[in-house]
Symmetry: none
Subunit: 248 residues, 2 copies
DNA sequence: ATTTATTATGCAACAATTTGCAGCTTTTTA
DNA sequence: TAAAAAGCTGCAAATTGTTGCATAATAAAT
């Protein structure tokens, strides 16, 4: 294998996974780690990757959501981990596009083989980095604020899907109003997604619980699973449990 | 074996395998490595292959993996500036998803009001940042390598559009083969885009001119405008001008 | 057809690049 | 703070490239 080929392979891996480990590269193409390090140094010098201890990171990317800017990342990662455990090989999964969903996308295990439908640009981008996940984008007009496709076209596409799971990050959830949101178009899409899935999983940081917005997405009865960063046994969650929701 | 034959054989091997080792060639046609090296030097000088330590690479090899050639950002910005000048208020614009298109997206003037259709995730993201541009995403299965939607669904959606302009970044263009690419699905989409637009604009850094890939997108006769980073009067562009293309 | 000029090829000596290894330093992690 | 992992440096071996030159092949001219 020529040096250039090797470096091209490395770049490809970086762009695919957003990051690489020297050790992995070394074993997957059978050259010493020294060589990999030297390659990474060259690629870093010419500005194609960012070198870090143990490997390298993709440069161009992460422009969508800089992780550090995301509000409450830690909580969202806890939620994302719980969410990921629900996804099994071969499933059809429908997801919205909040930051919690993005965190989930990043935590999907490498070997998971599943099909993801989404109308969210950042979510689709994350899914597309994954080696074994098939991504179907539900197109339509892009709502700027939320970066997701909204409109009749998207909704009618969603209605033709029959998914196993639907993951929604929500902005407000309480006992009285159920799930509520503030953007009419987005609500229509979320609604269609819930209807198109056998099971609906709602992800919310506890801060957003027991608050409500103006437009109703659905009642609690249409939700199957609620994920928060809290311990499932936390007493704040009791009322939801009593309403028949599974708490993770 | 004549020199010309030998070089033709080398070119064939390169286009077949994307790369060759001097040592392999030397043993398979029984000439000294010196001769092979001299041949490779000539082929490299005339721009037919890229010579590297130990052998040579196909020109198309580059665009295969090295998606983020930071080297050419300058060229691409020159191209993007020229491209932007073609877009007027109220237009319907259809675009692909190469890095040149992304550069163009970033250079769109703030006050431009237009509607952009695309199947490319990064391009859609850039358009969505713009205050006055309406973005319609053409959804379907996302091809991982190129991050664009491909498939029958996307193509049939494109066929329902009647756009004023279509911008395509291309990986290879030459007089003999027209525009060529290496991914079947992507070619289908590009094809549909060309048909759906009144005018087609092709953007290519000069490096990619006079090289070709395996699959044909369209002939030069289906293109209206060619944009490169070169001066429009550059003699390299003469043959294209003679084929009826407008050069910017 | 023979000579001459030009080009192509192979060889050998030397230069440069690439790569893996060993020893040591730095960074990370528990 | 100590062990483990990763990085750096210098070095040696192997591979690849370069250059000058002799020889062979080809084309051109007489």
């Amino acid at each position: 294998m020529l040096k250039k080929e090797r470096q091209a392979y490395i770049l490809h891996q970086v762009s695919l996974h957003n990051s690489v480990l020297s050790a992995d590269l070394s074993s997957s193409i059978n050259v010493s780690e020294d060589t990999i390090r030297r390659d990474l140094n060259e690629l870093a010098e010419s500005g194609k990757v960012i070198k870090v201890h143990g490997g390298a990171l993709s440069k161009s990317f992460n422009s969508f959501y800089l992780r550090s800017d995301v509000y409450n990342v830690d909580s969202k990662q806890v939620i994302a981990e719980k969410a990921v455990s629900l996804i099994k090989d071969g499933m059809f999964v429908l997801t919205g596009g909040g930051t919690t969903v993005i965190e989930m996308a990043r935590l999907l295990p490498e070997n998971l083989k599943a099909t993801f439908f989404t109308g969210s640009i950042p979510a689709a981008y994350e899914y597309a980095q994954h080696p074994n996940i098939e991504v179907i984008f539900i197109g339509d007009k892009i709502a700027k604020k939320s970066q997701i496709a909204v409109g009749g076209e998207a909704i009618s596409k969603i209605k033709h899907i029959k998914a196993d799971l639907c993951f929604l990050g929500v902005n407000a959830i309480d006992l009285e109003h159920g799930i509520t949101d503030s953007d009419w178009d987005v609500v229509q899409v979320k609604n269609a997604m819930i209807e198109a899935s056998s099971q609906t999983v709602v992800m919310s940081i506890s801060e957003k619980m027991n608050s409500h917005h103006r437009i109703r997405v659905c009642g609690l009865d249409e939700i199957d699973i609620l994920i928060t960063e809290l311990d499932p046994a936390d007493s704040i969650l009791d009322p939801f449990r009593l309403n028949g929701l599974t708490i993770l």
